[in-house]
């Protein structure tokens, strides 16, 4: 049975307004779009103020005066709006970039470099023949794709051409997988809304 809840009706009509974009852009779609953007900006602003108050200003007013220091350093970023004193923003930026870089560099080297190399060193003599085949394909593909990005010389031999072709096909398969998974993510959002329309609003399922 169709819902009698006013809020479900408001949500359902908003959904229809958004779906109307499938037909063509219109004022109803634009109204919902602007409302969503305005709402998101509002939430973001309130959260930022709340965070600033909770972690900086409130402790500072309660006696922990040191907490005002990071707030003041952050506030220096507003000098970006003044042409004469714009250079002041370099100080907070250098602190943020310095700390961020120092902290993420070892982590990045570990997870994206050493970790990935370690993950590619696999046994090809396990008891499971299927696993061995999988590991051989993985190792071969990694080597071929890495070779593909060596641009210092023109591929001249037949083997080089085969390796590059294999690498290109492997990358295309990878990109296709990413694209397909992305479609599934968008589809999940669409299905969730459709489920709401079919079940909660129309009461058909």
């Amino acid at each position: 049975m169709i819902s009698a809840d006013v809020f479900i009706w408001i949500k359902a009509l908003s959904v229809i307004a958004v779906f109307s974009f499938f037909y063509r852009e219109n004022i109803a779609y634009r109204f919902i779009e602007y409302t969503a953007v305005a709402g998101a900006v509002g939430v973001y602003t309130v959260n930022a103020i709340k965070r600033l108050w909770g972690s900086g200003l409130s402790p500072a007013l309660s006696g922990d005066f040191l907490m005002i220091v990071p707030v003041l350093i952050g506030a220096l970023l507003f000098f970006t709006f003044n042409k004469k004193y714009k250079w002041v923003t370099r100080y907070p930026l250098s602190i943020v970039i310095g700390i961020g870089f120092g902290l993420t560099l070892p982590v990045t080297i570990q997870k994206d470099f050493i970790g990935q190399i370690a993950g590619t060193i696999l046994s090809i003599t396990t008891a499971d023949p299927l696993k061995n085949i999988g590991n051989i394909i993985l190792i071969t593909t990694v080597i071929c794709v890495l070779y593909y990005f060596i641009f210092t010389r023109e591929p001249s031999t037949m083997v080089e051409s085969v390796v590059r072709k294999y690498a290109r096909i492997a990358m295309m398969i990878g990109f296709a997988g990413l694209f397909a998974m992305d479609i599934m993510t968008r589809m999940a959002s669409f299905l969730s809304i459709l489920q709401f329309v079919v079940s909660n609003w129309l009461g058909l399922a």
Partner: protein, 280 residues
């Protein structure tokens, strides 16, 4: 007089109006929602690993759950995450929720937490004792590192302004070592990169389908297991023997995928046929 040429089926398919594609997709998906067909679901190793890790967890264990879903991907991430959180609670876990690094980390506070906990089973669970929400940590790895070093001293209050010292769950936390597992919603290598090398905790995450392939290279060195999307939410519900949204939506998603494949195939065949005709 000019003779009117009737377009053949391939030309019609090639020039199909995109609105017809949308309409067919909507009708196909809605039809399956009204009349489910019950397609079989095979449980994948990653989903099983998450389930078994939580199943083996001692009752009363502390769990850190960082969640960064946003409105655009909540449907893909949320249901699986809610299933995982329900499972954690069923096994007697005490959970510390945070919202962390992410493009929309701050704007997603407390959206992801509110939505996912709204879908999870919280029967008999009390805020402050069984779970707590500390809010947004900060939009950089620095925030994660600071939180991991001192989860209790990171902030003075929870998200709702209650002082940390007044929350019973926080009394048992001295360092990140007190957590048994990190079970996240959408958070991935950024957090795992900070937590796992230092604290050697199992790290599992439920993310969106689009992210599964980008997280997989970190499995198992950094991330113990990654699951994502409606598909793996359905798998998790099967393992829990509690079918919910994932199980009901998987039919529709399979049909939607089938419709997309058929249109891609049809479009390509029409293109090849038309190209052949032009070459002739």
């Amino acid at each position: 007089m000019k003779e009117e040429i009737t377009p053949d089926i391939w030309t019609r398919l090639y020039d199909i109006d995109h609105r017809i594609v949308y309409l067919i997709t909507i009708i196909a998906c809605a039809g399956v929602m009204i009349q489910p067909i019950g397609l079989p679901v095979k449980i994948s190793p990653n989903t099983k690993t998450i389930y078994e890790l939580i199943e083996a967890m001692p009752s009363g264990s502390l769990v850190h759950t960082d969640m960064i879903p946003e409105p655009a991907n909540i449907a893909d991430i949320g249901y699986g995450s809610a299933d995982m959180i329900s499972h954690l609670f069923r096994k007697g876990a005490r959970i510390v929720f945070t919202t962390g690094v992410g493009t929309h980390g701050q704007s997603a506070t407390p959206y992801g937490y509110d939505t996912i906990l709204g879908w999870a089973d919280l029967t008999g669970k009390k805020y402050g004792e069984d779970y707590v929400y500390l809010g947004f940590l900060g939009d950089s790895e620095l925030a994660y590192a600071t939180f991991a070093r001192d989860p209790k001293g990171f902030g003075t209050t929870d998200y709702y302004g209650t002082p940390i010292d007044e929350l019973p769950i926080m009394k048992d936390i001295k360092s990140y070592d007190d957590f048994y597992i990190t079970a996240c919603s959408h958070s991935g290598p950024e957090l795992a990169g900070i937590i796992v090398p230092l604290y050697k905790k199992p790290f599992v995450t439920f993310t969106q389908s689009a992210n599964v392939l980008t997280y997989l290279p970190y499995v198992p060195q950094l991330i113990t297991a990654v699951a994502g999307g409606i598909r793996q939410a359905a798998e998790y519900e099967l393992l829990l023997k509690k079918p919910s949204y994932g199980a009901s939506a998987i039919d529709a998603q399979s049909i939607a995928a089938l419709v997309v494949i058929l249109f891609v195939l049809g479009g390509n065949i029409a293109y090849i046929v038309k190209r052949g005709e032009v070459e002739k």
